[in-house]
Symmetry: C2
Subunit: 242 residues, 2 copies
């Protein structure tokens, strides 16, 4: 399983992904699900992936391989929209290669992608790309996308994230969202990859890995857990005797 | 969709269910998903249902119809375990009636049930009954079961509910769990049905419906939402500039 979340906010973009993959409970591995495509001073894009690892790896490798060529690719696309079209097209191509005409029905070849970033001359934008290769774009009303195991970590985002949320707060909300998810689903696991872009900059202002022993994440998890207990303890008791 | 949660705690049993059913977004109705089977002074059982409404209604009706007869039924079962067997058997019977030999594959006839309560001479017990009619029982380590749309409301339960949680606290945690679920999934909706049994009693100490305008639930939802915001605001800021 996988959990990834990405937000497009007034101040910029926030991306977070876990690194656990599993093919059965006894076949667990660590894989990067966050991929950076950059052309210094001109563009910087992040791709997050969830779903079939063979499909998403092929998509990333094909995008990387073509990035050096003259054919249309992620490093010469003129807008984020065009880049999203290209990624969607690449996904369709890989799924068609591995499962021509959808003949194999007992394997799920699909994957979900989130693509965000900024290309010079275009705003900071964020897209959710479906297994069929079509996609939707984040708006001020719907400023975040989740892919993979999204439900456990959604309530906290819905309560604290809006388009106006500052980047540091958004970063914290992503970490709390991962904490809730990892408590409930063992197949989402540490370390976490984080990327943050400030609006108008063409490179990440933060790109780092949160490891198991990260002091700050540990502090945050403890504060949150204790805070929830205290908040719960302080609720008005029921009006009737039970 | 549906969300139901039931807890078996040291002090007793707590049951909660929503009442919304939908067959498509434009076909929404209110149905009771909590059913009480009682023999005054001797037994009191609650059945919660999620899944195919035709299946769960038939199961409940058959259980009710047989309750007055001499054949083995939910009002003469000698233990909660025997009652769970009977409910599982009734579910298998209904699914077999409606979909003989599983020939129809485009309709999901399955439903999930939770059965709990107390029969004189037996402890307060709680069972999760699967669509196949087999079942598991709650233990001190795993004191609660959820059926239906369970993920959004699970993190809060995992943080505050243990076997030692008092009934009034457990009632509050169920309401908060519903609040989180209803914020994220429109197909889980008010009003909510609640039943609470104190251990050793053979009738509910509380059986009521939480309506949309319930003052206490509204207070709790506000306190929780505001409390989460305050808790979030008070978290230690990230150690790096973003």
């Amino acid at each position: 399983m996988t959990y990834c979340v990405a937000m497009r906010l007034d101040e910029g973009l926030v991306f977070a992904s876990d690194t656990r993959t599993n093919a059965g409970f006894d076949h667990i591995a660590t894989f990067r699900k966050m991929h950076l495509f950059e052309k210094l001073g001109e563009r910087s894009l992040v791709l997050l992936s969830a779903g079939n690892l063979a499909t998403s790896q092929s998509v990333v490798k094909l995008l990387e391989r073509r990035a050096g060529t003259n054919e249309p690719n992620i490093l010469n696309a003129e807008s984020m929209f065009e880049a999203a079209e290209l990624v969607g097209q690449t996904m369709r191509e890989v799924i068609q290669r591995d499962n021509p005409d959808g003949k194999i029905s007992h394997v799920d070849f699909s994957c979900s992608l989130v693509l965000g970033g900024q290309i010079q001359g275009d705003g900071h934008r964020l897209f959710n790309i479906y297994p069929e290769g079509n996609f939707i774009e984040a708006t001020e009303e719907t400023p975040y996308f989740q892919i993979g195991e999204s439900k456990y970590g959604k309530p906290i985002l819905d309560r604290v994230v809006t388009y106006d949320t500052p980047l540091d707060r958004a970063y914290q909300s992503a970490l709390i969202s991962f904490d809730s998810t990892m408590k409930s689903n063992l197949s989402v696991g540490m370390p976490l990859d984080i990327a943050i872009f400030r609006k108008g900059t063409l490179q990440p202002s933060l790109m780092h890995r949160v490891e198991e022993n990260c002091e700050y994440f540990r502090t945050l998890r403890q504060q949150w857990h204790q805070g929830i207990q205290d908040l719960f303890t302080g609720l008005t008791p029921p009006p009737m005797a039970l």
